[in-house]
Amino acid sequence: MSNLTAVKVKNLNLKYRFIKAVNIKKEISRLIFKKKGSNKIKEIWALKNINFEAKKGKTIGLIGPNGAGKTTLLKTISKIFEPDSGTVDLFSNSVSLLTLGAGFYPELTGTENIYLNGLLLGFNKREIDKKMGEIVSFSELGEYIHFPIKTYSSGMRVRLAFSISSHIEPDILLIDEILGVGDETFRIKSQNKIKDLIANKKRTVFIASHNLTSIINLCDLVLWLHKGEVVDFDEPDKIIEKYKIYYKR
């Protein structure tokens, strides 16, 4: 295994700014009556002074209670968010966040959604054509793939979403809470797929999860976040023990 760095995060700070949408009514009344309104901008520091380095090929678990900043950190690494200060350096070409959101167009068919997602994830059409068969068969949707997504059950949607994002195979893979989706058989299948993705020695993987057992099983290192700050960064056994004591589980 190489000792090259894949991700280097230095003094990372990130804040959410909730700008209350401008309300014309209030703006006008403020103009007329010269009232001083409440402060329009509310700030919350979601990540505070995060420092760590991930080596290539390692799997890193992110743990912490709700609101600790796990997803925010993943989104910052995947370049959806920009740090307010500090740097995130990626020493690799492709990075992708594997989530099961609603990034689908309900009126379009499964195939069309695969193209749209694939194109956004940096593939060209020919590459998607090549993977199409694999994605469709993995999703087990059969002929439903030619129907609009709005006719799908929620389980089918999840299966399609997982199939697309798990066939991207980026150098840096970010996984957010999806260990186990769909029905029992698909859950096992998807877990095996994730294990395959992680097993690749070139790939650096970040997993955010509340499932401590799978974190111990899958990860080389664990980053413990609490209210946007790093509590500890160490091997899984050591951290999980402390973590359990800390939250009295």
Partner: protein, 261 residues
Amino acid sequence: MLIFKKIVNDVKSYKEYILYATRCELKIQLSSTYLGYIWWVLDPLLYMLVYMLLVMLIFKRGEENFPVFIFCALIPWKWTSKSIMDSIDSIKGKSNILNQIYISKPVLPLIKVLLNTAKFFFGIFVLLILIMLFKIPYSLHYFEFIIIFAVQFLLIFGLSLVFSHLGIFFRDIKNILIFVIRLWFYVSPGLYSLERIPQEFRFLWWLNPMTTFFISYRNIFLYNKSPLYMQLLIWTVISILIIYLGLRHLYRFDKKYMKMI
């Protein structure tokens, strides 16, 4: 200049996505009605009938070849107003996808503009059929269409960029815009010719880009004349400034939008 380089690079790298997404959105719009494509013909034609009724029957006015006269204005007008209205939601409405994958933001209003451009071409096609029906002579000035089209495209793209940005911050903008756009059409020489405006007020009409576009389209399709090149040049410069302004905002907030929506 850096900004323009950036948008060219973005369009290049997102080329396939832009084209595919435009096609898909067109398909969605078509599949949401029974008549599909036919609506693209019907919509401007019905508007034309309404205005004909209003102007010819009620006001007893109207220029020569009035249906074609209106149509020359309606088609570019629809293109402009629909693109602007669509672009308001272009970033906001994609928050689901943007929360998972990074997309360069100017790409999203661009898709909306292209979508409406496709419909615009369809409308021009219908216009040509109308011209044939009314037996208006063809002319070589048709080739100058491409120039008017290019300038108007720049202006629409610029405005769409600006409104996609504003759409995120001002929730009421859509309601205001519905009114403003209606007013904008009536102060553009769409239903009447510019000659009907008193000489001393006419300079006000030239502040409206639609005056230049409507008259230019009519010149080439109806009157066998060249478009208003001088005015088109001025609007090209203004459009590029608007595009610059829009892009500067979109790129500055590129990764900040998702923290706000």
